[in-house]
Amino acid sequence: MIEIKNLSKKYKTADEYAVKDLSLNIQEGEIFGLLGPNGAGKTTLISMLTSLLKPTSGSFSIDGLNFQENKKQLKGIIGVVPQEYALYPTLTAYENLSYFGSMYGLKGKQLDKLIVDHLEIMGLSKFAKKKTANFSGGMKRRVNLIAGILHRPKVLFLDEPTVGVDVQSKNVIIDYLKELNGAGTTIIYTSHHLNEAEDFCSHVAFIDHGEVITSGVPSELIRNQTGAKNLEDVFLAIVGKGLRDYA
């Protein structure tokens, strides 16, 4: 589904590569977790895969398409849920979703039904006509998610979709994403919550210093790492316990 070949990104002001010669194959129907410490290159990788950043070198294709030749077509089959709340605070939840749904060519009753159904699933029906500025972090996160999936994308990119939300919101989000994946959507997901990733992902890749350190099925990675009881143990064994602050 997604083929990444020797992909690199070096920012103009940086001395080192944010993503360095990275290659990955992500199969259709997977929930693929990109895990790593702060500054590992996860968001840079997702930004390149979603057309937000231009790679310095290398290439990738999604469902056989690339942004150079099939930009509009490719943008139509992917869904992106950015880390920040990408919503208009003075518009209601419904108005936000209506606008972003329209950008995917959805309209009329079909769009209305999709919005109503998704708000219902995410437990936001009674807040449909409220401005998102007044929403809690968990509510904004859920609207943010709906905005990226209304058009039923083939591939969904999620950058830290559960960061800063309460347990209830997190469960609703994860449950729905599993349902979406069951319906055929391939999910690429970044997170710091390793327990969540262990439970949620069918496949994970640990990234550090812009490179893939290891990848595989979470249960196999735990089994293969001596003394590891969970994915967090694997992560610390591979990446190390040192702080990874960056600016």
């Binding site: 937000l52 930009k71 992106v80 950015p82 920040e84 990408a86 518009l91 995917y104 990226g148």
Partner: protein, 423 residues
């Protein structure tokens, strides 16, 4: 088309949800128009309607000073206040309490009469008409007299020049009449019988443009409404560029970049809504000129038969302003960049465009520079319609320039966006 409509509707909602912003967009230009027109109205009124306070120190108290006072009073331009001391008048004017003082020197009437009598007698003697007259050369010199003018230091050059010119004309007339009277006296003629007309032979008349068989006199409304409406239209640059920067900062722009929608469509939605704002602003300005001005004692705006062409100018001026706002918003990264830059840019464009000072009084270099200001094109087109009463064909060059400016700025914005976000 559906995406453009959705973008337009979204922009409309964003605008309507910010009532404070909407109020500022519509109320501030109207307020600006009212204040500026009220201030400038006096400069367009006839002299009879507005009088400049003037201090007169009459140290002469003779015939000449009497004529000066009468002439000043007759001009209906001044409100004369008498003062006894020159020092007192000087202090009042230089301290800014008064605008202008005229000091008539002591003995002016006597000296002028003596000089005129001597000159006239001398001329008549040369012609052998008055043989008793003495030759001027044989007399002691009569000292010239100086009428002193004091101006408040903040007075503008134009005001000073017009006052000086008026006084100069008055003094010349008094001298001419004195010479004429001296001749009459020397020749023993009856003063009631006119043998030489002292009135100006060459006169001038201002020929005004005629509209509907009526002379059209430009007033402060005809001047100020187009100028300040245009200024307000161009100020759309500030909120529009802020709107774009906000999109970048709040993350919605990131989402839009991953959506299958062209940047031109996103900008198209903003263009339609903000163009509507410009036209509503313009309509409000016209309504104020038509209905509110007369209630406030200001001259009524005359738009009869001009509305289609006026709206054409407003439409294309709005497009030009929006193009600039879109470009600025595309390039700027923060509101701290876009807001002051936009505001200062509009003020500069207004200044070189002739909104404050007419282009013809600018230095040659600035006159050339004014030709590249879209506000100058808009202002000229508005003046053409409001004051020169022309049709659409005559304003077409300005309209095309404004359209070209919109297309150019939009193209640069799109190219910049493509270059910055190439994948």
């Amino acid at each position: 088309m559906h995406k453009l409509w959705a973008s337009t509707y979204k922009e409309l909602l964003l605008l309507l949800r910010d009532w404070g912003g909407v109020a500022i967009l519509f109320i501030m230009p109207v307020l600006l128009l009212l204040v500026i027109t009220s201030i400038q109205d006096s400069t367009f009124k006839s002299f009879g309607e507005f009088k400049i306070p003037l201090i007169l120190v009459d140290n002469d108290k003779g015939d000449v000073s009497k004529i000066i006072v009468e002439s000043l009073a007759e001009s209906n331009s001044f409100e004369i206040k008498a003062m006894d001391s020159e020092a007192q008048a000087k202090e009042a004017v230089f301290s800014g309490k008064e605008q202008l003082a005229i000091v008539i020197p002591e003995g002016l009437s006597v000296s002028l009469q003596s000089k005129v009598d001597r000159n006239v007698s001398g001329i008549l003697a040369r012609f052998g008409i008055d043989e008793d007259a003495e030759s001027p050369k044989e007399n002691t010199a009569i000292q010239t007299k100086e009428v002193r003018l004091y101006f408040d230091p903040v007075s503008q050059m134009g005001f000073k020049s017009s006052v000086k010119s008026g006084i100069d004309k008055m003094v010349s007339k008094i001298e001419t009449e004195s010479i004429y009277n001296a001749f009459l006296e020397e020749l023993g003629e009856d003063g009631d019988e006119v043998i030489f007309e002292t009135d100006n032979f060459i006169t001038f008349t201002e020929i005004l443009p005629v509209q509907n068989n009526k002379e059209f006199i430009p007033n402060s409304a005809q001047h100020n409404v187009p100028a300040w409406a245009l200024f307000a239209i161009f100020f759309i640059v500030v909120p529009l560029s802020i709107n774009l920067v906000k999109e970048k900062n709040q993350g919605t722009f990131v989402r839009l970049r991953t959506n299958p929608v062209r940047y031109a469509t996103v900008l198209g939605g903003k263009t339609i809504v903000y163009l509507g704002v410009c036209l509503i602003q313009f309509t409000l300005m016209l309504l104020v000129g038509l209905y509110l001005f007369p209630l406030l004692g200001l001259p009524k705006l005359d738009v009869s038969g001009k509305l289609p062409t006026l709206y054409a100018v407003a439409f294309f001026s709005g497009l030009a302003a929006i193009g600039l706002g879109l470009l600025l918003g595309t390039i700027a990264k923060t509101q701290e960049q876009s807001a002051p830059l936009g505001a200062i840019l509009v003020v500069i464009l207004a200044a070189i465009g002739g909104v404050w000072v007419p282009v013809f009084v600018m230095p040659p270099f600035m006159q050339i520079l004014s030709k590249i200001s879209p506000m100058n094109w808009g202002l000229e087109a508005f003046y053409d319609v409001f004051l020169r009463n022309v049709g659409f064909a005559e304003i077409l060059p300005e309209i095309l320039l404004l359209l070209f400016f919109f297309m150019l700025t939009l193209l640069i914005a799109l190219l910049y966006y493509r270059n910055e976000n190439a994948v």
